[in-house]
């Protein structure tokens, strides 16, 4: 029998199995903490930093990612404070200006309150969330693709950028890629300083719908555990 612990997330007492992460506990209870790099059943690496929360310990607050924080009995977590919202917004802004053409990332950005951006758009086709890499190495153990280089040269590649004989064409990497989940139909041009109006009209920003699921495009398994039907 799995042991369970009780954690307090945003005032709600939540039972979660020992060894699970705070993010999983929160999502399971319908508290939608935004996240990007996390994939259920794969190792969490804490790369996108969107799922940051405040962990209150001995009267002090420590900001850390909830996907790498394991639940402990009596733990107190705040996932939606002003401070967290501001930081999360800034991180989402970095992501969406890097890849403004991904509908998935646009949705996350809007969900995090990014309406206007302060950096020029870059139109990258990868934000290095590593979902594909972990699907390939972790789930199937194939290691046909991986991270190459470091810093600004970091990228996802197969060895020597040649077709890897280890690839069994399962397509899981493509399924998980935030750049391929319903690609944006109104492509951003370099220099355009706003997110495209197309999405904005369809989306409710977080301010407009606080506490409710806004039915983001990523759907099941990407943003939260709830299905799209549970919308406002």
């Amino acid at each position: 029998m799995t042991q369970e612990v009780t954690v307090n997330i945003d005032g709600a007492f939540i039972r979660a199995p020992k060894g699970s992460t705070v993010l999983d506990a929160a999502l399971g209870a319908g508290i939608c903490i935004p996240h990007l790099c996390r994939v259920p059943y794969l190792e969490d690496i804490g790369a996108c930093r969107l799922c940051i929360v405040e962990h209150i310990e001995n009267g002090r607050s420590k900001i850390t990612t909830s996907c790498t924080l394991l639940v402990q009995e009596g733990m107190r977590i705040l996932s939606n404070t002003d401070r967290i919202r501001k930081l999360r917004r800034n991180i989402a802004e970095l992501l969406v200006t890097e890849a403004p053409n991904s509908r998935a990332i646009q949705d996350i950005a809007l969900r995090c309150g990014v309406v206007e951006t302060r950096y020029p758009f870059r139109n990258s086709d990868c934000v290095l969330c590593g979902r594909c890499v972990r699907a390939c190495t972790g789930h199937f153990g194939e290691k046909a693709i991986g991270f190459v280089g470091r810093g600004k040269d970091r990228r996802v590649e197969s060895p020597f950028n040649l077709y890897s004989e280890l690839c069994n064409e399962c397509g899981r990497c493509i399924d998980l890629c935030p750049m391929t989940i319903v690609p944006c139909d109104g492509n951003m041009k370099p220099g355009e300083g706003r997110l495209c109006g197309n999405c904005e009209s369809k989306m409710l920003t977080e301010e407009a719908a606080q506490g409710y699921c806004i039915g983001c495009y990523m759907g099941d398994g990407f943003q939260c555990e709830r299905s799209i039907t549970n919308t406002l």
């Binding site: 190495t137 190459v148 470091r150």
Partner: protein
């Protein structure tokens, strides 16, 4: 096919995945760079996936994935050297050799590298040419150094 030398080179690291970096160091030292074939051999010998070998080799600065010139000119661009004008020294090297850092010059004689700190900060700007350290460098001194290296090589070539 792995050449016999690389097999001997990897002798001490066989079947020890955690020795990957040490193995790459040895290959780098012996060949001056790490080729695709070397990486495949390392992958086989150490029991590490090719992807991991490629990831590690491309992550660390000590490893060069392309052949390098006969002379390696490393310009230190650490803070202490930077405030004393290392950038000028680097620019001098690039324009004189005609190749960007990490690239090999057309004549195959030189590769320039910029190193983040050589740990001889009191003597900056510092430049190492192959193994020897030159201190208090300026563009003029470097120009002479590169000239003498070019000349030295021509002399060396004429003896053959």
């Amino acid at each position: 096919m792995p050449s016999p030398t690389i097999t001997t080179l990897l002798e001490g690291h066989r079947s020890q995945p955690h020795q990957l970096i040490e193995a790459l160091q040895d290959v780098q030292k012996h060949y001056g760079y790490i080729s695709e074939d070397s990486m495949r051999s390392i992958s086989d010998e150490l029991g590490v996936s090719l992807m991991e070998v490629y990831s590690v080799a491309s992550f660390y600065k000590a490893f060069s994935l392309q052949p390098r010139g006969k002379n390696i000119i490393a310009v230190c661009t650490g803070t202490a050297c930077h405030v004393r004008g290392a950038k000028m020294v680097l620019n001098q090297a690039i324009s004189q050799i005609g190749a960007e850092p990490g690239e090999i010059s057309k004549d195959g004689l030189f590769t320039i590298e910029h190193v983040n700190c050589l740990g001889a900060c009191a003597l900056g700007p510092v430049v190492t040419e192959n193994e020897s350290v030159h201190h208090h460098m300026d563009p003029g001194k470097l120009r002479k150094l590169i000239k003498s290296l070019k000349k030295g090589d021509k002399e060396g070539a004429s003896h053959v």
